[in-house]
Amino acid sequence: MNTLIAISGLGILSLLAEIFNARKAIVPVTIIGLLAILGFNISTYNHLGAYYNNMMITDKFSVAFSSLFIVITIFLVALSHEFYKDQKTKISDYVGIKVFLLAGTVAMVSFGNLSMFFLGIEVLSISLYILAASNRLNLKSNEAGMKYFLMGSFASGIILFGICLIYGATGSFDLNTILLVISTQAYPQWYFIGIIFLLIGMLFKIATVPFHFWAPDVYEGSPALTTATMSSLAKIVAMATLYKLVMALLPVQMYSFQLIIVCVAIASMVLGNIMALRQNNVKRMFAFSGISHAGFMVSTLLLMSNAANTLLYYASAYAVAGVAFFAVVMYVTKDKENETIDSFNGFGKSHPLLAGILTASLLSMAGIPILSGFFAKFFLLNQLVHTGWLVLVIVAIISSIISVGYYFKIILAMYTKDSEHTLPKVPVMYQIVAVVALILNIALGLFPNVVLNLLG
């Protein structure tokens, strides 16, 4: 709870800094503030607590996931200074929105009441709508913002409708009360319809097939840093929330529910990977690859025991790879109309360090050891075999093989082609973020125990 208050306070602070003409200090102060909040958040790891009539519940799950979100936000804020260099006057808005977005995410993983959950998801979504359209002179960015807003608000509506049905069935928004009602009393069947609505809305936010249509366009049109926020932060937030919702509202999974999840997961893996093969725009490609990763993450819903650990590990691995990826992509595609793969031609020769980091992140996402992406897939598949859905495991393996095809397109471009144009000097901050993200990636791979044992 205090984490949430502190984050909101920090957001207001960064808005106030604009008034006091302290623009230069915004990014460093925010980073320091976030680091402090991260430390404070970790210190509450062992303290369970419920606040304001169960509106907020902090437990290990919420602390672990919010720490991950804070870390990613620190990366994103660190990238902001350089990314918004041309729009210095608006830096406080951009940073402020990112911090508020973080507040929304924290609310989403520590809610104890469905209304709080909805507040969280709206704070997150509205911040993202603004960020998507934030390059207001660019037509594509406007289009992306509009598209995301229309589709996203529709999904929010569906979620709200689902919550209403659940309320109608059980008479409460409170998770504990709902659980008590469904385990002790007879309740109407529309409770499950409500859950399905919730599921649809959340799957939309995660961007899984068949609710993925917005993702490629929005990812492509938005400014690169927003794309990074959506793909690395928003996706895993929505996934963690969905996990928490399903575990809380559906203590016993029916076969039909599992079947839905399996179908969604398989469709996302296959379609995401196959479509990614055909893309020439890096951001679009990343959107489709994100869809396939969403398929992997959604399949954690099938696991009852220990799945939170696996999800946390997968999400961390995916996020750190994504952050490093975007730190490099933002540098390479700056001042370019299109983020085509050709932009990476000859990058291996001109910038060996950044090219190496990009290669490592791509290999991580493709699931090559010793990077964390491999371990994430291994732990997930290892548990999936238990559930008996072998077909899902086979599809996951085959789609991993397919994914090598498009990840290596970029690697090939970097190392086998010659570049036609020179790039400006590498901004220090991009380099630092990329290096730190890579170190985190490798450390996660070498010491998986650290994350895997967090959630007991």
């Binding site: 050891p369 491999f374 598949l381 075999v385 095809g405």
Partner: protein
């Protein structure tokens, strides 16, 4: 000293090579590879004195996985093969100038690190990680420093990568399945499980995909010749000299003891596939115009015979396989180096553009001839010991296999001698062939000494590997009889 030091040392060597800069890189790389040879000999000495050099540490508690490195005769033989060959390969490249050589030599050492790890791992998960890890450096070596048209090279290399990755992912599925059954992936635990016929079949098949692609066994060989030809010679040597031994080693270490029923049931098919590789490789080699491709196909034929021997499930077969793995490692490095020596001078791989070298350089001709004769298994060379044992084991399995495989040795002599004739003999070449340098001579001499010494006196190696192989054969028979 436990064996993990060699791994740490090689990894550290790779990093140090990278930071040594382009000028010093090859010297630093050679230093670290030689030092790893010394380390391996030290471990060998410890092993002979009965000192335990294993390394076991907890790694991941849930799922229950270990960092476990095990030293026995078999892994020790492979360790020595890898470190010695890596040193030879690095030294053999001293005559070449590579762009960005710090990355190049760092990758070579890193590859050596991964391969050593594969041979030593006693936990299937760790083994899998090293197995996959070895793919990354060779991918970049072939891609960035290879020769020929860039587009074609790219296609060949990516095909190789996807093939091998696809195969090994199925092996990973097999391991995940085994983990569900046993709750651990330590090799000792995996050896004790009893699987049903059906389970064994699927697990055997999944592993077979990984190994058949790596070795390669027909019909999974299509990546090989192109990649061998397009890689820089160092890459070709690493691939043919050491990396494909990873597949053969894994057959002996992992596949056969875990799923012996399946191996026994499908023995005829497996041996037939391997022998088909021998015949196919030799026949295609007859027609080759490119010297590196010819050597690639001859290598295909030889490893086919090794695989056939391993799949006989007899002690002789396994012993012959390991002996021949070592012999073939040295001989193939020697052959590719000879091709490289010619290419350095004539700037070509086409056999038709060579010829008449004997008149210009006697010394090189005789050394090349010895290695060439060793490769066709002339009595007195190491390869004869290996091939003889392999053919003997095939004979005990089924005489026809021995006959078919035996005739291909004759075929092997035909294409190798024909190649030698076209490349070395004949009218003096218009192009000048500079006499070979001292460095090049040293490489040839080391390889020839190894081949002849163990050809006449193979006992040290047989003594080293036999106990470990006996143990594996005992495991196989125990499972088969229970």
């Amino acid at each position: 000293m436990n064996v993990s030091f060699i791994l740490i040392f090689l990894l550290f060597g790779a990093v140090a090579t990278y930071f040594a800069g382009d000028k010093l890189a090859k010297t630093v790389a050679l230093f670290f590879s030689l030092a790893s040879v010394v380390g391996s000999i030290f471990i060998l000495n410890q092993y002979n004195h009965g000192i335990n050099s294993d390394f076991i540490a907890n790694w991941i508690s849930n799922p229950n996985l270990y960092i476990a490195l095990k030293v026995d005769g078999l892994s020790l033989a492979m360790l020595l093969l890898t470190t010695v060959l890596t040193s030879i390969i690095i030294f053999s490249s001293f005559g070449n100038q590579y762009k960005n050589s710090k990355s190049f030599y760092a990758l070579v050492l890193f590859m050596s690190f991964a391969m050593v790890g594969t041979f030593l791992s006693a936990d299937a998960f760790l083994y899998y990680i090293f197995w996959e890890l070895s793919l990354i450096p060779i991918y970049f070596i072939a891609l960035v420093w290879g020769n020929g048209d860039a587009e074609e090279r790219k296609k060949a290399v990516i095909k190789f990568f996807i093939y091998t990755l696809a195969g090994s992912l199925f092996m990973l599925v097999a391991f995940i399945y085994l983990f569900q059954k046993v709750g651990s992936l330590m090799i000792g635990d995996l050896y004790t499980i009893l699987l049903t016929q059906n389970e064994q079949f699927w697990i055997f098949l999944a592993m077979f995909l990984a190994y058949a692609i790596k070795i390669p066994i027909i019909p999974f060989h299509t990546w090989q010749a192109n990649v061998y030809q397009k890689s820089p010679t160092v890459g070709t040597m690493l691939l043919s000299g050491i990396m494909l031994k990873m597949g053969l080693y894994s057959v002996i270490r992992w596949q056969l003891p875990i799923a012996p029923f399946a191996a026994k049931t499908y023995m005829t098919i497996l041996i037939a596939l391997s022998v088909a590789g021998v015949v196919y490789g030799s026949t295609v080699a007859l027609k080759q115009k490119n010297i590196k491709k010819l050597l690639a196909y001859s290598s295909l034929a030889h490893v086919g015979l090794i695989a056939a021997g391993a799949y006989t499930l007899t002690l002789d077969g396994l012993r012959g396989a390991v002996l021949q793995m070592i012999a073939h490692g040295f001989v193939v490095v020697g052959l590719f180096f000879a091709a490289e020596v010619i290419e350095r001078r004539f700037k070509t791989q086409e056999i038709s553009e060579m010829g008449g070298i004997r008149i210009q350089d006697n010394k090189f001709t005789s050394m090349f001839m010895i290695i060439m004769l060793a490769s066709v298994a002339l009595p007195g060379t190491f390869n004869f010991v290996g091939e003889f044992t392999l053919l003997y084991s095939l004979y005990s399995a089924n005489i026809w296999f021995a006959i078919i495989a035996g005739t291909t040795i004759i075929l092997g002599a035909v294409y190798m001698l024909k190649m030698f004739q076209h490349v070395m003999l004949g009218e003096a070449n218009a192009k000048v062939f500079q006499s070979i340098t001292t460095n090049e001579t040293i490489v040839f001499v080391v390889i020839i000494v190894v081949l002849l010494f163990f050809g006449l006196f193979p006992k040290p190696i047989t003594d080293l590997i036999t106990p470990a192989l006996q143990e594996i054969v005992a495991k196989i028979n125990m499972q088969l009889n229970s």
